[in-house]
Amino acid sequence: MATEPVIEQTGLQGPAAWEEQAEREQVHGLGPWRLGLRRLRRNKVALAFGFLFVLLVAACLAAPLWADHVAKTGPDTNHLSDTIQVDGETKNVVELDGVPIGPQYFKADGRFFLGADRNGRDIMVRLLYGGRNSLLIGVSAALITTILSIVLGLLAGYFRGGADIVIRALLDIIWSFPVIILGVALGVALALGGLSIGPITIEGDSLLITIGIIGLVYTPYMSRPIRGQVLALREKEFVESARAQGAGPVRIMFTEVLPNLASTLLVFFTLLIANAVLLEAALSFLGAGVRPPTPSWGTMIDEGVDRIATAPHLTIVPGLMLVLTVLSLNVFGDGVRDALDPRAKVRIEH
């Protein structure tokens, strides 16, 4: 239903009244980014989850502070034969039969806040350091996916023809494998001998291997939609106009097409981090991701499974951190999408 503009009665009539109204409302033709930000600010749920994610990141970044000043131990330091004072009583960190101490919270001045693992390592410290690794892998892998997807999507969508056919075929090959199966296959294969490309050698237990694998397996899920958008954008008038002015393909791709993909890329990037963190956990749980004893939430869940009946917190706490991270990124990512382009259908489905 059409609605008439409502103008407050100020005594003025006609154009003068409209001008004053516009001045009062400060509506100065907002750009898409500011408009998006304004919409995002109105989405309290998305903001709350965004804040939660920032909190999680801050907690993980503060891992050394907790380790040095509260737990007084590092993430890899074993305490197999050590004892601690709990409420004035001496307790083994790991009993003779191998059972480690449970959560002590603040009864031991913050030491072994969530208990110890079988090596007598402080679980709280490993949880925070593990979070750093999980998030590092998530963000780095998402960056790799984004860069690869931009390059491949632009090339395939802009040039079409042979480039499109070859790139699409490559992406289809990767796409044809379920993400986890491909991730596990690559993870196991590369864990054995590492990766050697010319002068660059990466050890099999390096985090770079996991980052690279996750970055690669998600590439088709982002580059195909980008290619679709580039196909549409290259037919727009402003691209025609740039071409008519003599701009070359590279310039058109990076100055005309890419800026118009920015909002899509941003939303994809947020969702990709969540998916990459999740995949890292899955791969590490299956023994094809982060190699022990390096902590990550996935390896911690794996290590905790053996004791799930008597110490469920070993599995539940890193699992919960994972859930909160993925949930916060997904909700925030959806909020960003709604704010920047409500009609967009940005999904990573596999």
Partner: protein
């Protein structure tokens, strides 16, 4: 929220719920008290159901080489020589199995002569012939079995392998089906060859047994039991062999009529099923998680026995800093053995001797009280280790500690790296996949500095351990002397003792001296011997019917129902 997000959330909630439900699972079974023992009347008959976590590698005597396969199968395939099943100290001494007597060994220790007992039949009723022995050895060699290396010392064995023809001849084995006589000629003396003849690889199978993996239809053998069903990854069934001959009281028949082995991946479930009586035995120990409860509440049907095995740290003497004896000594002083034992959930007896209990040459005093590096049950002399490393100029030296991802090896490797750091090194663990670990550290190219190693006996002969530190056995690939131990005296000693065809007390004493020398010169860091657990159901007669064999672990033929 996106589609994936909802799916992800649902998945995680489901996982969390499962975790919580699993954590809250109750366990009301009541245990009894009391301890083990034996010596009462054994009831015969009945059926039992037991479990393994993974399928045996093979159920074919020519190919099998894992505990999962050997523990049940040694009761199906009796070799020419074997070990008594009496539950006494004699059980690691060789006795004639299908042979009438122990072999006659020539003066030069190159020829072994045996004669088959008369009138024996396989479980399918067909007669046992002397030529079946040669067929069994041919199957081992032709099918590239893990056991083929044991028989390559037989004259003509290598030529038979090279020819690649299954029906070819091994010139060093002569058999006579009429007299039952078997003559084996070796290319050079092998002091442990009698024990090799007692391995399942050498157990006769009928001459028409094909040259292929027979796991799904295991060949007949001569033993108290026979395989009657084998469905890989699901179950296999053993039933009493109606044709089992009287081989004397040292090789008795079984008690229960039928033993069904189920393959159940989940160790938690296996333990719960043994507690509730749905299973009568689980081959793997109860998971660390519920072991304290099992030990506390079901001690009347749970027992741990130290096996003939050694867990040790190798130090590659061809790679710095372990080319320096003082650094190796420092590591021996600094390794916290009781701490490492905790990682095995009580299933490791800390020790110092490389030769383990049950193997001739084992020195009990040196293993514990007289260990040159301190009592392995007490905290290490870390300060001394630190000082020695400082004096050797190796403080801060970077080390890569090798280990694999099997449980608890990964944790042990992390703990060793941590202990090396406490001594003053900068050590990082390197965890490889269990499937390629030993090949990797056995490759000279890898130059593995230091890491995890262990060995379980194939047979109770010191050579079966000492070859791991024999300088003569070093090779560029598939090297099992991971630390490249190449002490001329030890190498010479092993070569000399290997000429001795019989393991007399005097020979055993000389092996003991070599073992002491190996430990005192800090060539390796032995830190313990593995224990194995036996956990039986309530309906099994744990008190009167239970033998743990020093070579083959649990003796199923000893079990009976209450």
């Amino acid at each position: 929220m996106g589609k994936l997000s909802r799916r992800t959330l649902a998945l995680f909630l489901a996982v969390l719920c499962m975790a919580v439900v699993a954590a809250c699972g109750d366990d009301d079974d009541d245990g009894g008290g009391g301890g083990g023992g034996g010596g009462g009347e054994a009831k015969t008959g009945g059926s039992i159901t037991i479990s393994q976590t993974s399928q045996p590698d093979f159920l074919d005597p020519a190919l099998m080489y894992t505990v999962n396969a050997i523990e049940p199968s040694w009761l199906v395939y009796t070799p020419l020589l074997t070990y008594p099943r009496t539950g006494t100290d004699r059980d690691s001494e060789l006795i004639p199995g299908l042979a009438e007597e122990m072999p006659t060994i020539s003066q030069d220790a190159l020829t072994y002569e045996l004669t088959l007992r008369k009138g024996m039949k396989y479980s399918d009723g067909s007669p046992v012939k002397a030529s079946d022995f040669e067929h069994s050895i041919k199957r081992v060699l032709n099918m590239e079995s893990g056991g083929s290396a044991f028989f390559l010392g037989i004259e003509g064995a290598q030529d038979y392998v090279d020819a690649g023809k299954p029906e070819g001849d091994i010139s060093g084995i002569e058999t006579n089906d009429q007299s039952g006589k078997i003559t084996i000629n070796l290319t050079e003396p092998d002091g442990s060859f009698s024990h090799v003849l007692s391995m399942w690889f050498a157990a006769p199978v009928p001459s028409d047994t094909p040259f292929r993996n027979m796991t799904e239809t295991p060949p007949p053998g001569v033993g108290p039991y026979m395989f009657t069903e084998s469905v890989p990854n699901r179950q296999f069934v053993m039933e009493k062999n109606p044709n089992f001959p009287d081989l004397g009281e040292d090789i008795p028949p079984g008690n229960v009529d039928k033993i069904t082995t189920l393959i159940i991946k989940n160790a938690q479930r296996q333990a719960q099923d043994v507690i509730s009586g749905e299973l009568d035995y689980m081959q793997d120990p109860p998971p660390a998680d519920i072991k304290p409860e099992v030990k506390a509440e079901y001690s009347d049907r749970y027992e741990e026995v130290t096996t003939a095995s050694t867990y040790y740290i190798f130090m590659n003497q061809r790679v710095p800093p372990f080319d320096k004896p003082e650094v190796r000594e420092a590591v021996n002083y600094g390794i916290d053995k009781p701490a490492l034992a905790r990682l095995f959930a009580g299933e490791l007896a800390p020790g110092c001797s490389f030769l383990p209990p049950g193997v001739p040459g084992f020195d009990e005093a040196m293993d514990i009280e007289e260990c040159p590096w301190g009592n392995p049950n007490e905290p290490p002399d870390l300060e001394r280790a630190r000082q020695m490393i400082e004096e050797a100029g190796e403080a801060g030296t970077q080390l890569t500690v090798y280990g694999n991802n099997d449980d608890p090896t990964d944790k042990v490797t992390a703990a060793i790296a941590d202990q090396l750091n406490k001594m003053g090194f900068e050590a990082e663990p390197k965890i490889l996949d269990g499937g390629v670990y030993f090949q990797t550290i056995g490759s000279a190219k890898e130059r593995a500095q230091i890491g995890f190693a262990n060995w379980f006996q194939d047979f109770p002969h010191p050579k079966n351990f000492m070859f791991l530190v024999d300088g003569a056995s070093i090779q560029p690939t598939l090297n099992q002397n991971f630390g490249n131990v190449d002490d001329p005296e030890i190498t010479k000693g092993i070569a000399e003792l290997n000429q001795e065809p019989e393991l007399t007390d005097e020979v055993a004493e000389r092996w003991r001296e070599l073992n002491v020398q190996l430990v005192e010169e800090a060539h390796i860091v032995p830190y313990g011997h593995r224990k194995l657990a036996t956990f039986l159901s309530e309906r099994m007669d744990f008190e009167n019917c239970r033998r743990f064999h020093p070579v083959y672990n649990n003796d199923y033929s000893s079990w009976c129902l209450k």
